[in-house]
Symmetry: C2
Subunit: 355 residues, 2 copies
C-alpha cells in the first residue's frame, strides 16, 4: 500500500517527527523502563485495592486494566524489536506477559460483554424508549389515502414488540446467568494467577526490566535508526493484512468465517501502534481511532458468539431463542458497522504521516 501509515515516508526518509538517533539504547530502553515502572505501580495499586479492608472493586479493576496496558506494550515491543534485544530473554518474557494479560483480560471481557448484550436487548425490545417517544405525540398526522392499512400494521407492530419483550427478558436472564458464571470463574482464575509463583517470576522480570534492558550483544554500539527496520516490518505486516481483508462490496453480516482476518488485523494494528509510540515517542490519535474500530469489531463479534452460544442452551423456550436470534443478528450488524468505521478511519490513518 503506497503512502502507508508508517514511521517512514514512502521515499524512505524518516518522518520529521522521528528522533534522529533511533537506537535501542536511546529510545527503546527508556520506553521499556517506563512501561515496566507503570506495570509495577499498577501492580502495587491492584494489591492495595484487593486488600480485604479496601471497599473499592472499581479501583482494583482500574489497576488491572493499567497492568494489562503496560503488559501489552512491553510484550508488543519485545515482539517487534526482538532483533535489537536479547532474543531468549525477550521470547520468554513475552510469552509470560501474554499469559498474564490474557488471564487478566477475561474477567473484564465477560463483564463488558454482558453489559453490551443487556443494553442491546433493552434497546431491541423497546424498553429503552422513554414514554414520550413510544407514545403518539411525535406521530405525524395521517392524511387519508385509498387502501391505507397503517392501522393494521401498527397493531401487528405492537404484537411483535410485546412478543420480543417476553423473550428478551428471558434471554437477558439467561445471558446474565451464563456470563456472570464465566466472569466469576475468570475472576478466580485471575486471583489464582496473581498469587502464583509463575506470576511472581514475571513481576521479578519486569522489576529487573525497570532498571536494565537486556539488549542484543552485537547491537550495543549505537547504530542510528536501528529501530526503524523492525518498526517498518510491523507496519508492512499490518498493511498486508489490511490489504488482504475480505472486500465488503457485498456485505454478508452473518459470515463469521470472515472474522479471523479482521481479528488478525486488530492484533497487527496494535503492534504497529506500539512501535509507533516507541519510535515517535507518542501515540498517534488516528491509529488509536482505527484501533478502537477494530476493538468494537472484536466486542461485537464476541457478543454475537455469546448470543449464539446461549441459544444452544438445552430446553430454552422458543421466545428466548427468538430474542437471542434477533440479538445475534443485531451484534453481527455491529460487526459490519465496525468494519465500515475502520475502513473510514483507515485512509486517514494512511495519510496522516504523509508530507
Amino acid at each position: 500500500m503506497p503512502g502507508g501509515a508508517g514511521v517512514r515516508r514512502p521515499d524512505h526518509q524518516t518522518t520529521t517527527q522521528a528522533p534522529a538517533d533511533l537506537t535501542a539504547e536511546a529510545v527503546l530502553a527508556p520506553y521499556l523502563r517506563a512501561q515496566a515502572a507503570d506495570f509495577l505501580r499498577s501492580l502495587r495499586l491492584h494489591r492495595e485495592h484487593s486488600a480485604p479492608t479496601d471497599p473499592g472493586a472499581r479501583g482494583a479493576e482500574e489497576a488491572a486494566s493499567a497492568l494489562r496496558r503496560s503488559a501489552r506494550r512491553i510484550s508488543g515491543s519485545l515482539h517487534t524489536f526482538r532483533s535489537v534485544l536479547d532474543p531468549v530473554w525477550a521470547d520468554q518474557l513475552r510469552t509470560e506477559l501474554a499469559w498474564l494479560s490474557g488471564t487478566l483480560a477475561r474477567e473484564h471481557a465477560y463483564s463488558t460483554r454482558l453489559v453490551r448484550l443487556l443494553d442491546a436487548l433493552h434497546r431491541l425490545s423497546g424498553a429503552a424508549l422513554p414514554p414520550a417517544r413510544a407514545g403518539g405525540s411525535a406521530t405525524p398526522p395521517r392524511p387519508t389515502a385509498p387502501g391505507s392499512s397503517s392501522g393494521a400494521a401498527s397493531g401487528a407492530a405492537g404484537q411483535e414488540r410485546a412478543a420480543l419483550g417476553v423473550g428478551a427478558a428471558r434471554a437477558g436472564a439467561l445471558l446474565e446467568r451464563q456470563l456472570t458464571l464465566a466472569r466469576t470463574r475468570a475472576h478466580s482464575a485471575a486471583l489464582q494467577a496473581l498469587g502464583s509463583s509463575r506470576f511472581h517470576a514475571v513481576a521479578d522480570a519486569v522489576a529487573l526490566l525497570a532498571s536494565e534492558v537486556p539488549l542484543a550483544g552485537g547491537t550495543s554500539a549505537p547504530v542510528p535508526e536501528a529501530l526503524l527496520e523492525p518498526a517498518e516490518r510491523a507496519e508492512q505486516r499490518l498493511l498486508g493484512a489490511v490489504a488482504a481483508l475480505p472486500p465488503d462490496e457485498r456485505a454478508e453480516p452473518y459470515n463469521e468465517a470472515q472474522d479471523a482476518p479482521w481479528h488478525q488485523a486488530r492484533l497487527l494494528l496494535r503492534l504497529h501502534r506500539y512501535a509507533h509510540e516507541v519510535v515517535l515517542g507518542a501515540p498517534d490519535p488516528v491509529l488509536t481511532g482505527a484501533g478502537q474500530a477494530l476493538d468494537l469489531h472484536r466486542d461485537a463479534a464476541e457478543a454475537a458468539s455469546a448470543a449464539a452460544a446461549a441459544a444452544r442452551t438445552p430446553r430454552i423456550a422458543p421466545a428466548t431463542a427468538y430474542a437471542l436470534g434477533v440479538l445475534h443478528a443485531d451484534q453481527r450488524h455491529g460487526v459490519e458497522a465496525a468494519r465500515g468505521a475502520f475502513r473510514e478511519a483507515w485512509p486517514y490513518a494512511a495519510a496522516v504521516t504523509a508530507p
Copy 2:
C-alpha cells in the same frame, strides 16, 4: 419543503413540461379512458389465461398484475381529481377499485414474501455461498502475533453457522407452510371476487369509463390549469408526510411503531406519481425510483412481520425460533436500508423539476 418534487415550481409558475391547457376534458378524461381500456384488456387476458385449457399460470399472474396497475391509476386519479369529476360516482368507483386491487394484490404479496424470506434464510445460513468463498483459498496469510485467538474464533463461527443451518431449514419449512396456505386462501378469494356480481358491476363501470368520463357539472367548461390545484394538493400532502417522517439520526431498526408514517408516505407518493402522470403525460423516473424504495420498505417490513408471526407458532423448536429471530432482524435491517435508499433518492426527486 422548498423546491418540492412537483408539478409547479416554487414561484408558482407551471413547469415547462406541463401542457398549457390542463383541463379535465383535455387531459384527465383521455388518461382515464386509456387506463380503463388497459383495465378491460388485462381482464380479457386474465380470463383467457385462467381458462382450464390454458396451461399458463404465469400469463394469468401477469394479467392480474396489469389489472391492478390500471385499477390503482384510475382509483388514485379519482381521489386526486375528485373536484373536477362527478363526486358521487368517483367516490363509489374508487371504493370498488380499492376493494378489487386489494383482493387481487394479496396472492401476489404472499408469494413474493415467501420467496424473499426463503432467499434471506438461504443467504443467512450460508448455503448460498459457493465452496470457493466459504473455503480458505481467499484467506490472507496469518502472521503470528502475541495473544492471537483466531483459531478458536473460527471454530466457534463454524458452530454458529451449523446451528443456524438446522434452524434455518426448519424455519424455511414453517414459513413455506404458513405462507403457501395464506397464498392459496388469497387465490381462492381472488377467484371468488372475480366471479362475483360486485366485480361485474366494477367491470361495467370501467367499461362505461372507457367511453365516457363523468365530469363535474360546473367544470365542464374548459378552465385552463383546472388540474393543477388538485395535483399540487397531492404533492403538498406528500411533502408534508415526508417532512414529518421520523428522523433517522439514531437508527432504531426494530422500532416497528415508526413504520406507519413510512407506509403512509408510500401511498401519498403513489398518488403524487399518478397525478404527475396525468398532468405531465408521462411517469417521472425519479419519482418511480423513490417509489420503488418505499415498495422495498413495505416488502421488508411485511416480511419481518411474517417472520415474527411464524415465531409465535406454538411448540416450535428453539433452533427454529432462533433462526426466525435472525431472519426478523435481517428484514428489519432491510427496512432501515430502504429508508436510507429513499432518503438518497428523495433530494434528487425534489430537484428534478427545478430549472
